[in-house]
Structures are given as structure tokens and as C-alpha cells.
């Protein structure tokens, strides 16, 4: 319950306050969001399987976002930023899909 309320509160805060992201960080925002979605779906699946832990979720979320952004940053420096961003999105996308399918099976038994 708390995470859901937090999520909604975050969306409202984001819309109302409109915090401005520094120009340097802007290219990494979409990648960070994909990484965050991956962590969210993984956490929800772990919760359904009864093995959810706050600490693991927080650590996995932060490291996911940082590593994904770092990969894209390094890619930008060596000129393959968009390709590496695609790679990150593909890998995380596969994980999101797999987790979402598992969540669907656990929730609806279908």
C-alpha cells in the first residue's frame, strides 16, 4: 500500500512542482526510467512470490538506474551512446516483459 501511495504522490509532486532536471542529466532520464520500471516489476514479482525485501529492492533500484545511466554516459563519450541505450532498453525490456508475464500468471492464474 505504502509504495502505491508513494508512487501516486510522486507523480503529483512531479506534475505540480515541475522540478527542472539539469541539462547534463536530461539524456539519461528515459534510461533511468526504464531501469526503474525493471526494478519495480522485479520487486512486484518478488512480492508475489513472497520473497520481497525492502533492502534488496532499494539497492537493486539505485544500482540499476546508476549502471544504466553510466553505460549510456560511457557510450556517449565514445560515440556509441544511442546504440548502447538501445542495448540497455532491449535487455531491460526483455526482463520487464518476463516479469510482467510472471506477475500476470500469479495474479490471474492465466
Amino acid at each position: 500500500m505504502i509504495p502505491l501511495v508513494g508512487l501516486l504522490a510522486g507523480i503529483v509532486i512531479g506534475i505540480v512542482l515541475e522540478p527542472s532536471i539539469p541539462q547534463i542529466l536530461q539524456p539519461y532520464l528515459p534510461i533511468a526510467i526504464v531501469a526503474a520500471m525493471d526494478a519495480l516489476f522485479g520487486a512486484f514479482r518478488a512480492y508475489l512470490e513472497g520473497i520481497f525485501t525492502d533492502r534488496v529492492f532499494i539497492v537493486s533500484f539505485i544500482s540499476n538506474v546508476l549502471i544504466a545511466s553510466a553505460i549510456v554516459y560511457v557510450g556517449d563519450q565514445i560515440g556509441v551512446g544511442s546504440q548502447l541505450a538501445t542495448g540497455v532498453v532491449v535487455v531491460l525490456g526483455i526482463r520487464i516483459f518476463t516479469n510482467a508475464a510472471a506477475i500476470r500468471r500469479a495474479l490471474f492464474h492465466a
Binding site: 505504502i2 509504495p3 502505491l4 501511495v5 508513494g6 508512487l7 501516486l8 504522490a9 510522486g10 507523480i11 503529483v12 509532486i13 512531479g14 506534475i15 515541475e18 522540478p19 532536471i21 536530461q26 532520464l29 528515459p30 533511468a32 526510467i33 526503474a36 519495480l40 522485479g42 514479482r45 518478488a46 512470490e49 513472497g50 520473497i51 520481497f52 525485501t53 525492502d54 533492502r55 534488496v56 529492492f57 532499494i58 539497492v59 537493486s60 533500484f61 535487455v91 526483455i94 526482463r95 518476463t98 516479469n99 510472471a102
Partner: protein
Amino acid sequence: MDLLNQIIRQPIDPDYALTAAVGSQEPRGRWKLGVLAMIIGALFAVAALQTTRAAPAQQSERSELISRIQAAEREQDQLRGRVTSLTEEIATLRAAALGDDDVARSVESEISTLDPVVGNAAVSGPGVLMVVDDSPSASEDARDRVLDIDLQVLTNGLWEAGAEAISINGHRLSNLTAIRSAGDAITVDYRSLTRPYRVEAIGDVRTLQARFVESSAGAWWNDLAQNRQMRYEISDVKQLDLAADPGIVLRHAGRAAS
């Protein structure tokens, strides 16, 4: 493929299973989760807002640039008009200053012979009109487009065939005129042209067209029309009016020997 298989087989963090096996669930720390969820929500909202904001901003930036270009072009037109009227004023003043003796009359007649040739005076008379354009398949193959060199060859061929005055899309050519490519457009005197290209040339109608077709420029354009399907039309016109080239400036002046 091993990597993809592993991603699919182990989609959740293995640490969840490890900590669950140890069984060290601490119930405090829920607020951390809430804060993190809030951060994620804020991330979503900010990213969505920025993406929707950026689109109209880019559009307005683009139309702003276009209107600035148009304003600059209008200003350039005005300035060119001013140049023309000032040139006329210069001509009147010059005539007044020269006075009315034999030397003055010979200088005047020399000026009136040279002015139309160098493009400093508006001229009218019979001539040929040529309309050239990219071929219909130009969007597929860049080689099917009219290039600056094609127009250069065309005008040089017209000079060679005996044209006395030439203008392209209303821009009078002098021997200082540059025909260049800039980006996607061809420029004459640094003003971009829009297709199709209308080349007007005043000259002897009896020979101009025939001599042009026989020249190397005629062969060049014949080749472009046949092999690249470019538009290439040439016709005689009884009356053409070509404006003066406003780009001509006085570069050298000396006191007349009296």
C-alpha cells in the same frame, strides 16, 4: 544467445531469494520504500512533462526562425529597391555634372553602351526563355536534380551564343554574379532560387536559340534532359524585361582629364 536465455530465466534479482532464505525481514524501512516509490513517480511525471513540453517548443523555434528569414529577405528586397533608385539618382547627377560639351557627349554614349552589357541598366527586348527543373524522380536520386554547375553551364552557353543580358528567376546576371549551391538550394547573388528555374536571355532571336543548341552547353543540357529526364524547355519570346543587377558597385573612380 546464452545472455538472452539467462535474462529470461533469471528476471528477478537473485538477492531476493538469498535474503529470503536467510529470513532477516525487518519491518522498519517501509518509509524508505515509500520515498523511493515517490522518486520513481516524480521521475515518470518529469520525463513525460518534458517530452510533451519539448515538442511545441521546437515547433515554435522553427517557425520563429522561418519568420526571421522572411523578414530578412523582405529587408533585403527593400534595400535592393533603394539601391536601384539611388543608382538612377547617380545617373541623373552624373549627366548634370558632365555638362553638355563634346567630351561629355562621348562619355555619355560610352556609358549608355556599356551599362546594359555589364548589367547596370534595365534592358528589354526579344530573346529566349528557358525553363529547367529537376526531374520527377529527383527525390529518389540526388543526381536527377539541377545543380549549380548545370545553371552555370547553361548561362555560359547563353553568353557564348550571343546573349546580351541574362536573368535567372528575375535575378539579373553580371560578370560578378555567383551561381552557387547552398544547402538544398541554388543561389544567385546569394539569394536562393525556388524551382523551376526560369532563365531569360535577351539577344538576337534569329541565332540565339540555334547557336545555344549547337554549343557544348546545349549538348550538356540535351544529355541531362534525355538521360536524367530533367525539364528543359526553350522558346523564343518577343518581349523580355530584365531589371538591372543591384549588386554592382563603383569600385574605381578617377578624375577625368580636362
